[in-house]
Subunit: 200 residues, 4 copies
Amino acid sequence: MGLRERIVEAAEQVIQMKGLARSTTKEIARVAECSEGSLYNNFESKEDVFLHVLRGQLKNLMQVLTALPERKGTRTVQENLEEVGIAALEDFYHSMPLMASIFSDPGLLLRHRKGFISRNEGPHRANEAVEAYLCEEQLLGRMKENIDPKAAADMLLGSCFQYAFQLRFMDGELGEERKRFVHNILDTLFQGLAAKKDTL
Amino acid sequence: MGLRERIVEAAEQVIQMKGLARSTTKEIARVAECSEGSLYNNFESKEDVFLHVLRGQLKNLMQVLTALPERKGTRTVQENLEEVGIAALEDFYHSMPLMASIFSDPGLLLRHRKGFISRNEGPHRANEAVEAYLCEEQLLGRMKENIDPKAAADMLLGSCFQYAFQLRFMDGELGEERKRFVHNILDTLFQGLAAKKDTL
Amino acid sequence: MGLRERIVEAAEQVIQMKGLARSTTKEIARVAECSEGSLYNNFESKEDVFLHVLRGQLKNLMQVLTALPERKGTRTVQENLEEVGIAALEDFYHSMPLMASIFSDPGLLLRHRKGFISRNEGPHRANEAVEAYLCEEQLLGRMKENIDPKAAADMLLGSCFQYAFQLRFMDGELGEERKRFVHNILDTLFQGLAAKKDTL
Amino acid sequence: MGLRERIVEAAEQVIQMKGLARSTTKEIARVAECSEGSLYNNFESKEDVFLHVLRGQLKNLMQVLTALPERKGTRTVQENLEEVGIAALEDFYHSMPLMASIFSDPGLLLRHRKGFISRNEGPHRANEAVEAYLCEEQLLGRMKENIDPKAAADMLLGSCFQYAFQLRFMDGELGEERKRFVHNILDTLFQGLAAKKDTL
DNA sequence: AATGAATGAGAGTTCATTCAT
DNA sequence: TATGAATGAACTCTCATTCAT
């Protein structure tokens, strides 16, 4: 593994542990087993290192989403979405401190927002991928016709996102209940809340 | 308005503008039109000021949720939830930089987590309130019986939460589409995704 | 007791506890049960308060020394000096943190040295008083003739002074061994170190 | 000379001049001709610098005391003690502002007392060394048998200690009278105060 | 005379960044 | 290319003193 990668991994570790606000170049260099000078031989600035760390997030989820189009028409829609939901929950949980930290410095966000968007790295990508998948399933008649695939995608990923946020806030670990959480979400989402017409 | 309040409001403004990481006591004092010393006559530390700012968040949403039990059995369930969703979206959007910033310093979170929990100030309160409301409506027969109220609450608030996060990330403003967003979510949630049985 | 006295006593307490460097007007006012403003209605400055505290030190020793001339020719010289030594040890022990603290701010010492000297408040007064007493006893033939009363006084008080310093440094309490210490000092001082002539 | 040493020397100079209470890191850095940041690359804190300054005190006296055992049986006891007394007077005079300053912050003393004791750096070391030397001379018959070597040591060093304290207090310089002072002390100590028996 | 909120200068400390080696 | 000592600007926080009440 090259030094650049080692530095990015070290930075990720340090930010996970201490938080972005308490991460220092000295500590990152220590964990990467190199000098602080080497940080600046490989990256423009500490900010630059952080950006590379950010890019490495949600890797697992993105992989699942990349494979999603192939799932179209196979297994059940709910099964396919469960796979997505679990991956989302895991990655959101893992990356939350990093992703959330960007709001602690709006200037940083401002400087790099265009870059994120042009490289299609925003956190909305996942939602769009799920939405696209659901459109396809709708065309296949495997999902109700007159509902909004975007809303469905937002509910699945949004509930996972908020759950990850709240777990981190409460210092909860992400244990086996993750499967049950996603399962309950999807069950409810597929059934709908509406009472039978005669009782409405 | 007392100086304490002015300081908290100034701190909120500054953190909204510059982010927690770039907020300085000097700037907060400047905006509050007092000396830095006065910050420390009124609060133990900068951290203490931040905590008071945090406590003032989600006020509007909490008010709507407090009124929710009285809504039980009135209007339609979907209308009642729309009110909640819109308030959530607005408050989440407004507070996101503040709430997310806490993850930039896990030490800070660690020091105050117990306080948050004991004062019931965690971000999960909203979800619990909506869940409780939906349980009641279920008993009234205004919602399908065999679905999970918690999952429904998580989807509504989770999608609003993530939408607020993404809007902030993309520098989007929260305009009139907020109503449409919540409406679509609830429409989809009430209908359910499941295809008609004969086509499943 | 008037407010002025209460403030001086409070200041002494606080300086004893926290040290001059960590003593604040806020704390002194709290202990004196008055406002910080009252400090400045009664004294020119914090420095002024400290000077008044200093003047109150070594009261017990000075009293003993004042009575010393009357002791002349009574009891034994050694007994009279023991009384002095014990009083010195006690007062030095008690006042050491205060007296020593003045060296932490030479500017303060410089500003007030002339005042100390003109009011005859220096720490050398005690030595002079003992020296004067010993001169008298020498005239009475109760002490060896050709020795230096000043040196004797310096040895008695000096050893007590340093002992008090070292006790404070080591966090030792001034217990019953104080009598033994002074007794040993005086025994040795009276006997002299010189070997018998035939062995010298 | 390394930067660390330069910083310690600069700190000693500054504390000698301004006193511990008025010594600032800015001034120390200025005198050491380095940045304030360098202070913190070389020491944990300003307190840490002060501790290193303290450790460097009484070097000359300690050297004389280290050589003392070799003096045993040579020259006269009084000559050997004069050398000790003069060194003590000089070092006490020089170090008094530094040593005394530690009492201006009992918290500091508390934090490091164990360290001082375990490293055998307390101010009592000198007394013990002289006491040990006198014991040896007693065995050689060069000093009166039935007197207390500890008391003798305490009188010699104590009188020098207090003399140094008073000189500093009075802004007196330590001139050539230092030899006379020590000489008088020792003369008196060796002779003893006791009147001839027939006159007692 | 008594108050205590407000002040602001200045303290110790941190840390991203540089650059001579 | 790798280093890490040196930097200095910027930070949070303290506290003696003032003054309107």
